[in-house]
Symmetry: C2
Subunit: 381 residues, 2 copies
């Protein structure tokens, strides 16, 4: 099996770029004297995770309890489930804890803190909880100056237990370039340290002070006062990150291999078998300076071609055009031509596929399986 014979559409992972991206972040975290707790939601795959993590047992971050169960069963012990926990997930999370997983959960409100504390007490299994902080108005979390911060720590203490603070500087996804990302990172770090200090003053020692997003982690110059950094998409990068100048196009390690199935000559269209089902519906570059449509077109070796993008997509059809409206000559892309499409958002494209075809120097060297969904394995009525 090679790039000319594998069935298309196929998800390709460039092993050298991926490994380089992973190692770069490991070295950077080490240099800044902070633990790296990579987010495994991008890969959802054990081989992928082992390249990201600094040890086979973690630390690592997950976005679903299914990921936590999958990775724990494969030896990853030190995990944070970094989405606010609610009652329907208490049992499943505490079961993991009971089974020996060092799972930490997060929450951002007194209601959930009271309910989770009561549940842990009932099970007699204390479970460490990080309080989620909203440093930039992005989505969930308590405000750094909120009274709730201390009150939640009080509720948790002794029953669940208070383990620290965590934030995701999601608004950094709107920052373009080093200066803007660095400003977001400094705000992220300073707000988190401020929260940690408020908690210490109130008698609660945060063991974990967890920050991180790819744009802030890439540009960070100091994480002083922070114990660990979480980030995910840095290991693959994508067009959204390239649009923020967080990476170059050449660093993007994920692509979709597609095949030309037809043309509409008078419209200058090249039609492929890579539709939105394989590319994902993500249009994250639509709001950026350069709109990449559903993805940037490369040749089979991964070299971008003369400003071609996937301008539109149906479920199993991708329509390639020139960004500037020039007509593409069908002769340049005969039926059967294979191309690679770079993703707007790597997490979203990867999620559409059961497996990665791992590519090295133009050869497929391995196949890595991904998980997906939310239900426990073997769910039944």
């Amino acid at each position: 099996m090679n790039l000319k014979t594998v069935q298309t559409p196929a998800l390709l992972l460039d092993l050298d770029k991926f490994t380089r991206n992973c190692n770069w972040m490991k070295e950077k975290a080490e240099r800044l004297n902070v633990a790296l707790r990579p987010h495994l939601k991008t890969g959802k795959c054990i081989e992928f995770a082992r390249t990201q993590m600094t040890s086979p047992s973690g630390p690592a971050t997950v976005s679903t309890l299914l990921e936590a169960e999958y990775f724990f069963n494969l030896g990853v012990i030190d995990l944070i489930y970094a989405v606010g926990i609610s009652p329907g997930k208490f049992e499943r999370a505490v079961n993991l804890r009971e089974a020996g997983c060092d799972l930490k959960v997060i929450l951002d409100n007194k209601e959930a803190a009271e309910q989770f504390s009561a549940y842990c007490e009932e099970r007699k299994i204390p479970c460490p909880v990080l309080i989620e902080i909203d440093v930039d108005g992005h989505r969930s979390g308590v405000k750094p100056d909120s009274d709730d911060l201390i009150e939640i720590a009080k509720i948790l203490q002794g029953k669940a237990y208070f383990a620290g603070v965590l934030t995701h500087a999601g608004d950094s996804y709107k920052c373009v370039g080093q200066a803007a990302c660095l400003k977001a990172q400094e705000n992220e770090r300073d707000s988190l340290v401020h929260c940690a200090n408020r908690l210490r003053k109130a008698g609660f020692e945060p063991k974990i002070i967890s920050a991180g997003s790819t744009p802030t982690a890439v540009f960070a110059e100091s994480w002083e006062g922070v114990t660990e950094v979480r980030c995910g998409v840095y290991c693959l990068f994508d067009l959204v990150m390239a649009g923020l100048k967080v990476c170059t196009i050449d660093q993007i390690a994920l692509s979709l291999l597609v095949e030309v199935t037809g043309h509409q000559k008078e419209k200058g269209w090249v039609i492929t078998d890579g539709g939105w089902m394989a590319l994902s519906r993500d249009r994250g570059t639509a709001a950026q300076a350069v709109d990449q449509g559903y993805g940037l077109v490369c040749d089979i070796d991964g070299n971008p071609i003369d400003d071609l993008i996937v301008a539109s997509a149906n479920q199993e059809h991708g329509i390639i055009t020139h960004r500037d409206g020039r007509l593409v000559d069908p002769k340049d892309f005969p039926i059967g031509t294979r191309l690679r499409i770079l993703p707007n958002h790597a997490c979203a494209m990867a999620a559409q596929h059961p497996q990665y075809f791992v590519v090295r120097k133009g050869k497929i060297v391995d196949i890595w399986n991904r998980i997906y969904g939310w239900q426990p394995k073997g769910v039944s009525l």
Copy 2:
């Protein structure tokens, strides 16, 4: 397991609505004296398909060769793979034919016709081909008046073999209401009949004359001259179809069950565990008169709530707000509240999930598994 205990996010299929939608289209096709060849790409699930189809062996339509293999192994024999075939898929398609599947493929250009004919001749396995027609400029297909139509039939004859014509009136997705959809349907039918007549005049009898899209199939008053209708999303319906007045909100049979995990009170946000990974990134209503964000919010029983929508989404977070900007009171949606989100595009939402939780009268009565991906089962290096 019930709607209060199943792990969220969970994909719910309302069995009565789904069955009603399926039966409505079966009866309509019968009344209009046309075969129904439902598209199985919406469901990707055998139990689902059996409710759609008029017999357990088909006819049916698929969007990938993996779907063809999966359904054929479960007894569905009469299949059209309705995406233009290209060289990388010849072997796999003809293998299905060799195994006894009555698979038909489609193509829209001389290049593919020549290559596929040569391949079938080499294998000594003729494979019926439909010529794809572009009736409305939507994407692929030959123009109804093109010389290519006859030339492709000539190339196919004797080697692969010419079996008929097929179109997808995809531009009907831009038509709002009965009159506009009906006009699109009449154009679809007339263009296809025109092609069939041109082919007959040239000595090629089209055995299959295949039309169909949900908006045109719902409103069609006559399919005279057409032998079969393909459509898919009618069995579930969704907010995009409701926006086109092709269905009512009440007919939508698919939803995502989510749980409230937090609030941002001063912004009027309710945060749930249903993010874009579970909702899909589809924003198909963005260009419609009513933008439904990432989906319309219903209570646990499926009744829409007072104009609440999922205004934005992260990977595992959905942010619910009022459409008109009024603040939502957190007290109305305490932590742990379960809600259902109706999809913009049912095919896209369903694709994010390994299984349907089949619901009847508020109870989960079954779990149906879906397939996904493109690679042959058990693919290895």
